[in-house]
């Protein structure tokens, strides 16, 4: 057993942090929210260059056939840096659905384009994911209804609390393929896992920003980071994030090994990462005070992102229910 990231993982994470850290992502995200997709699409291509979009594409289609843990590494970075766009959909979910659909329908797009980042596909998968994220950035909108896959038309743009999440209503088309139950379940679980990693990354960033702020902000003659009340709040965030991470890594292992426990483990990861990231965002706001409540200070972008992701890809209640069902069956 070696339950730890490898040097390759760390290298990949550092490369992504480096790329994203220089990309002024908050500003890209603000433009994206306003419908100016150019910066975000440019970032998409640069992430494609380092392999992000190819992760879940089979090697025979020009991809990397990467493991779920690689997805986790990538999406933690995407969450930490706030990259806008349908990454979960196009990088994680669509490849699984399209691979499963195979040649069933020539109407479906080719995997090669997804791999090299020239194509973007978004997916609506009600009930948990009723809208298609960033449909206007995608060449194609898929609709997954149970196991039925179709090409959908994007409808009205809705407004999310995270304005960089451009949610579109969808009008499903004719069924193009019927997928295997297990394949769909695994694909949706991997999407939920990617979202968990995004939450973890966003939570880590909210904590880091808070620590930095409390070390420099002075009130009553000293830096507010000296106050025990703030210290303890921030410590609780550290604890919550530290214990969410192994659940995410564990779920990645379960998915990789096709364990029967994978749904339970993904749900545990989503519950814990949503809770930890949400705590991080609440504490971040509380430690920052009014400045954290402003639109212009970047922290608010993470606060709103986390709020939206908490209920994305299955609400905490849904995932707790799956865990409960699994563990009460197991302990029969």
């Amino acid at each position: 057993m070696r339950f730890a990231l490898t040097d390759e993982h760390r290298g990949f994470a550092e490369a992504l942090d480096d790329l994203l850290g220089k990309a002024e992502v908050p500003s890209v995200s603000r433009s994206w929210a306003n419908g100016d997709l150019s910066g975000g699409l440019d970032l998409w291509r640069r992430l494609a260059d380092v392999g992000v979009t190819a992760l879940r594409i089979p090697e025979e289609h020009g991809g990397l056939s990467a493991e779920p843990i690689d997805v986790v590494v990538a999406f933690e970075a995407l969450g930490r840096h706030l990259a806008p766009g349908p990454y979960v959909e196009s990088v994680v979910l669509a490849p699984a659905l399209l691979t499963a659909a195979g040649d069933a329908s020539p109407a479906l797009p080719a995997l090669e384009g997804l791999a090299d980042g020239t194509a973007i596909v978004t997916v609506a998968a009600p009930p948990a994911t009723p809208f298609a994220l960033d449909a206007d950035a995608a060449q194609m909108v898929l609709h997954l209804d149970g196991t039925a896959l179709s090409i959908a038309t994007a409808g009205d743009l809705r407004v999310s609390v995270d304005r960089s999440r451009r949610l579109f209503e969808v009008l499903p088309g004719e069924d193009l393929a019927r997928l295997d139950d297990a394949v769909v379940a695994e694909a949706l679980d991997t999407a939920a896992l990617a979202c968990s990693a995004q939450l973890l990354g966003a939570g880590e960033r909210a904590l880091a920003t808070s620590v930095e702020y409390t070390k420099s902000r002075r009130q009553f003659g000293r830096v507010i980071g000296e106050y025990q009340a703030l210290k303890h709040m921030l410590a609780d965030v550290r604890v919550a994030l530290d214990f969410a991470r192994p659940l995410i890594h564990g779920a990645a292992v379960s998915l990789a090994t096709k364990s029967a426990d994978a749904p339970r483990d993904v749900s545990a990861a989503k519950v814990a990462s949503a809770e930890a990231a949400y705590l991080a965002s609440r504490v971040a706001l509380q430690t920052h005070g009014a400045i954290g409540y402003t639109e212009e200070y970047d922290l608010g972008l993470w606060i709103n992102k986390i709020r939206a992701l908490v209920t994305a890809w299955g609400t905490p209640a849904f995932h707790r229910g799956r865990v409960l069902a699994a563990i009460t069956t197991a302990t029969a």
């Binding site: 009930p127 948990a128 994911t129 009723p130 009205d156 809705r158 407004v159 999310s160 609390v161 995270d162 304005r163 999440r165 949610l167 002075r218 009130q219 009553f220 106050y227 025990q228 009340a229 703030l230 706001l285 509380q286 005070g289 009014a290 954290g292 409540y293 402003t294 639109e295 212009e296 608010g300 606060i303 709103n304 709020r307 939206a308 209920t311 994305a312 609400t315 905490p316 209640a317 849904f318 707790r320 229910g321």
Partner: protein, 388 residues
């Protein structure tokens, strides 16, 4: 120990309820922190004033009804139950008016109260500064005496001024005696936001609307007539406002009770598909709102009997601000994957998310809840101040 209303109180409540049923707009107004919303909310203030409902607790001479504290609470209950709009004039009515009544000159009362009551002049508070947030006494903006012109010259910067993006006038503290520190040597000023030398820079809130602003002062002249209270006595004058802000007047129980009732209705509508645990949280939210309501009736009894709020205002503020967040979190969890939506097509027109974002400011503003807990521990429990 009773919760009975007398005849006058019952009649007052009935009258309010009837008037509100008639006048509350059927469609929600646009957000008050937008140009069109600000206008719509001012119009609503005028409507309220015409009905005599904008400042029920003020003397009739200034447009009020001489309502008792209890009647004010009853009015607020009816107001929120009716789903009436947020009060764009709130800051003036709740924070400034009590000070004008207590410390204002006859001229100030004459000049400012009626336009405040009918929405024709909206006031913004200007307390915080970049380096003086929780630590308000660290403020640095200055007021220099100008004997020649019979007034003061203000310089400096205020921030987090609610409503200032659109409001007409502001009020705040400035250091008028540079030789004094902290709570001493401060003076309370009133000023028009379009005065020469004032620049207002709106700041967007989490919801994207410019709900507050920075105000820059560059040699802004304010005549003596616009000093509230005695020069140098500003801290004491202002703190009675702060007590109000944290205490009864800014957040009446009606708001939370109405929200809890809406939450119960949402549960009734959606509970079947939602996890049962949310039902318990709905119950908890309702219990908390009810506790706040009854607590307020207790406070009314105490104040009516001559007591004062004191540090209990901090207990109050901690409770309502955290109840408000929890209540809205529960609503969002009930909405499931649609929780993140804010548009008009969302459940309740996005009111739950808007209410949630608004609630998030509660534990921060008017003294963070950390400051409030210090006050509760030190003033109510008698724990030593120490170094914290």
């Amino acid at each position: 120990m009773n919760l009975d209303l007398d005849e006058r109180e019952n009649a007052f409540r009935e009258e309010a309820r009837a008037w509100l049923r008639e006048h509350v707009p059927a469609e929600p107004l646009a957000n008050m922190d937008t140009p069109e919303g600000f206008t719509a909310h001012r119009e609503w203030e005028r409507t309220l004033a015409e009905g005599g409902w904008s400042v029920v607790s003020w003397p009739a001479a200034y447009g009020g009804r001489d309502a008792s504290l209890l009647e004010w609470v009853l009015f607020e209950e009816e107001y929120y139950r009716a789903g009436a709009p947020s009060r764009v004039a709130q800051n003036g009515i709740s924070l400034l008016a009590p000070i004008i009544f207590e410390y204002g000159t006859a001229g100030q009362k004459e000049r400012y109260l009626r336009p405040m009551a009918d929405g024709s002049e909206v006031w913004a508070q200007a307390w915080s500064e970049p380096e003086a947030g929780s630590d308000l006494a660290a403020l640095r903006s200055t007021a220099v005496r100008d004997d020649a012109r019979g007034g003061w010259v203000l310089n400096g910067q205020k921030t987090w001024s609610s409503r200032a993006a659109f409001a007409h006038r502001g009020f705040g503290l400035f250091r008028s005696d540079p030789s004094q520190e902290r709570h001493r040597g401060l003076t309370y000023f009133l000023f028009p936001l379009d005065a020469e030398g004032i620049t207002v820079r709106p700041i967007g809130k989490l919801d994207g609307h410019p709900g507050f602003a920075e105000i820059f002062f560059e040699d802004v002249f304010v005549p003596d007539a616009d000093v509230l209270g005695t020069p140098g006595d500003g801290w004491r004058v202002a703190m009675s406002t702060a007590g109000n802000e944290r205490g009864l007047s800014l957040r009446s129980p009606g708001r939370f009770c109405a929200a809890a009732d809406r939450l119960a209705a949402l549960w009734k509508e959606r509970g079947r598909e939602a996890p049962a645990s949310l039902g318990e949280r709905v119950a908890d939210a309702w219990i908390a709102a009810q506790a706040y309501r009854l607590y307020t009736f207790g406070t009314v009894a105490r104040l009516t009997g001559g007591g004062d709020i004191g540090a209990d205002g901090s207990v109050n503020k901690i409770f309502w601000s955290e109840l408000d967040v929890r209540l809205h979190e529960t609503a969002l969890d009930l909405l499931g994957p649609e929780a993140e939506l804010r548009d008009e097509g969302a459940a309740a027109g996005g009111a739950w998310m808007d209410g949630y974002l608004f609630a998030l400011s509660g534990p921060i503003y008017a003294g963070t809840n950390e400051i409030q807990r210090n006050i509760v521990a030190e003033r109510l429990l008698g724990l030593p101040r120490g170094k914290r």
